[in-house]
């Protein structure tokens, strides 16, 4: 086993270092929490876009669905933290199953259009059923229950530091899980489908089953992210399920880089941080995202993570070259 495919070494270690350092480097712990939550959503999107080649505008459905479902069971049925999060995972998975099983009947542009249509429908449904979702006002007073394990209260999660720690652990577990997924027979088949669906089918894969499972995994992680976001804000806004949310998750994924899971953390980090720092000085900072999106497609297909790694490799080879030339000189 090498560090590239081992789920605990390699980039998992880098991710671990980053999530430990983030609260100390960043302006606020809440900001760090938000980054990790969107990194979860971006990572789930990456499983579809980067590894399966499916451009889904449906991620907002799962995000919003997770947020609403967890909030509702906490508000109306007094669900605890873990059970509410489990509900959000299940709801995310179920929504992804519905959206996925219909959308994958088509490919290419028609697939994208289907996910778009479902996102719009979900939005207008959420808007219409305002008794449940709060409609335009959003769902208010979403609680953040204490973390109880086996009846023992581990933490009340009231402080932003303790909630960050909890989200960080969740993120790390999901990250390791996602690493396992992409380096499983399932994950390599997804890459095969991305590369050449026709051939994948010809060698014996029923590609639609694989796409559907990819959807369900992606949906459950996104649903979890949505629930955590509602707990962070104590609020589940309608914008969670908006088309713009789907777009933002996509943009984070792409700008971060679709070739690696770490790219998703990087992308979410860059955009959430940029938004936080710039929105007060220059409200139109989103323009940068537009430029970045074009730049990534045209010039930097690996996204930020691709840029970082190639820069790193260049530095190493430069250093080697220098060493070689200096040894030559000394000869």
């Amino acid at each position: 086993m090498n560090s590239k495919t081992s789920i605990f070494r390699g980039i998992t270690l880098i991710a671990l270092v980053l999530i430990v350092l983030m609260p100390f480097i960043l302006p606020s712990v809440t900001l760090a929490t938000e980054i990790l939550i969107f990194a979860l959503a971006a990572l789930a999107c990456n499983l579809l876009l980067g590894y399966t080649g499916l451009l889904s505008f449906g991620q907002g459905i799962f995000f919003g669905g997770g947020a609403y479902s967890a909030s509702l069971v906490m508000i109306h049925f007094n669900f605890g933290l873990i059970s509410a999060l489990l509900i959000s995972i299940l709801v995310g998975a179920a929504l992804a199953f519905i959206v996925g099983s219909l959308s994958i009947r088509r490919t290419g542009i028609y697939f994208v259009m289907l996910t778009l249509a479902f996102t719009q429908m979900a939005y207008f449904l959420a808007y219409t059923f305002s008794d449940w979702t709060g409609g335009d006002n959003g769902l208010l007073d979403v609680p953040r229950p204490a973390l109880n394990i086996l009846g023992i209260t581990v933490s009340d999660l009231k402080s932003s530091e303790s909630f960050y720690a909890f989200v960080a652990i969740v993120f790390f577990v999901v990250f390791v899980f996602a690493r396992r997924v992409i380096h499983s027979p399932f994950g390599t088949t997804l890459v095969a489908i991305r590369e050449n669906e026709n051939r994948s089918s010809a060698v014996g894969f029923s590609t639609n089953h694989f796409k559907l499972v990819a959807f369900v995994i992606s949906g459950s992680i996104t649903g979890l992210a949505g629930a955590l976001y509602a707990m962070l804000l104590n609020f589940a806004p309608l914008s969670n399920i908006d088309l713009v949310m789907s777009e933002n998750i996509l943009i984070m994924t792409i700008i971060g880089g679709t070739s690696s899971l770490l790219g998703s953390l990087l992308g979410a980090g860059a955009i959430v941080l940029l938004g936080d720092v710039l929105s007060s000085i220059w409200p139109r900072w989103m323009m940068i995202l537009g430029v970045a999106l074009i730049a990534v497609v045209l010039f930097l297909p690996g996204g930020l993570w691709g840029g970082v790694t190639s820069l790193f490799n260049k530095l190493i080879s430069n250093k080697k070259n220098k060493e070689e030339s200096s040894t030559e000189v000394s000869k």
Partner: protein, 252 residues
């Protein structure tokens, strides 16, 4: 038990009013290399598509190993023991040669590959199969290169190798020499005749020298139907076959 591995009865395929394949009774004997030839538009490719499951036939039946597979989906035919190559090279361009073969071998596992909770490194049998095929098609030297970086001839060979990874009883090859340079063709000829020792091979091919040198049986198609069938020597001397081909070139 029939002695035929693959048998079609009255197989036909229509595109609207146009009948690409009329009523074809093709029988492929176990252990043979069976080639389907014919002038352009004879219906070879349409017939091939019915056999691979890419197209649903308009009439007739396909039996494989005495099992009716007429309407079985393309990917399910792999587990029954059929595998195909493509006329236009269809590889995982961005993956290494070895990875191409390993994934192709993994295709045999079907839905077992849905296991997202185990490490891919646990599937030794697929890697072994990939190495075995790599030896057979003699691409060991380039096993780490990306498939897209190979020469065209090597890509054609890998194309056949991908089909081999399914350990098929029947290999369906769609114009294996398509687009190959003259120098590379002997490699393909050697490879197919080598494969013919272990597999039943059905192929569509234009290169007559290759067809005549390796085929056990040849079926000639013309205008959607079988014109004649026989050994290479019988086909060489057949007047109807000459006419069919001459008729085509006469129009050109």
């Amino acid at each position: 038990m029939s002695e035929y591995l693959l048998e079609t009865s009255g197989l036909g395929l229509d595109y609207g009013a146009f009948s690409a394949v009329g009523e074809v009774n093709l029988k492929i004997q176990k252990g043979t290399i069976h080639t389907v030839i014919g002038p352009n538009g004879a219906g070879k490719t349409s017939l091939f598509h019915c056999l691979t499951g890419e197209r649903k036939p308009s009439r007739g039946k396909i039996h494989f190993n005495n099992e009716n597979i007429t309407y079985l989906g393309a990917h399910k035919r792999v587990s029954k023991g059929m595998a195909r190559s493509f006329q236009v090279t269809s590889l995982f361009q961005e993956l290494s040669v070895l990875e191409n073969l390993r994934i192709a071998a993994q295709g045999r596992d079907g839905l077992k590959s849905l296991k997202f909770w185990v490490s891919e490194n646990k599937n030794h049998h697929n890697l072994e199969k990939a190495h075995e095929v790599l030896n057979k098609i003699q691409l060991n030297d380039v096993s780490d290169r990306l498939a897209g970086e190979l020469s065209h001839g090597q890509q054609r060979v890998l194309e056949v190798g991908m089909a081999l990874c399914g350990s098929p009883a029947l290999l369906l090859l769609d114009e294996p020499t398509s687009g190959m340079g003259v120098d590379d063709i002997p490699i393909m000829t050697g490879l197919i005749s080598e494969l013919g020792k272990e597999h039943t091979v059905m192929l569509i091919e234009h290169n007559m020298r290759l067809v005549m040198s390796i085929s056990d049986r040849i079926t000639v198609m013309h205008q959607g139907n079988i014109l004649v069938e026989g050994s290479p020597d019988e086909i060489k001397g057949d007047e109807m076959v000459k006419k069919a081909y001459l008729g085509e070139s006469g129009h050109e």
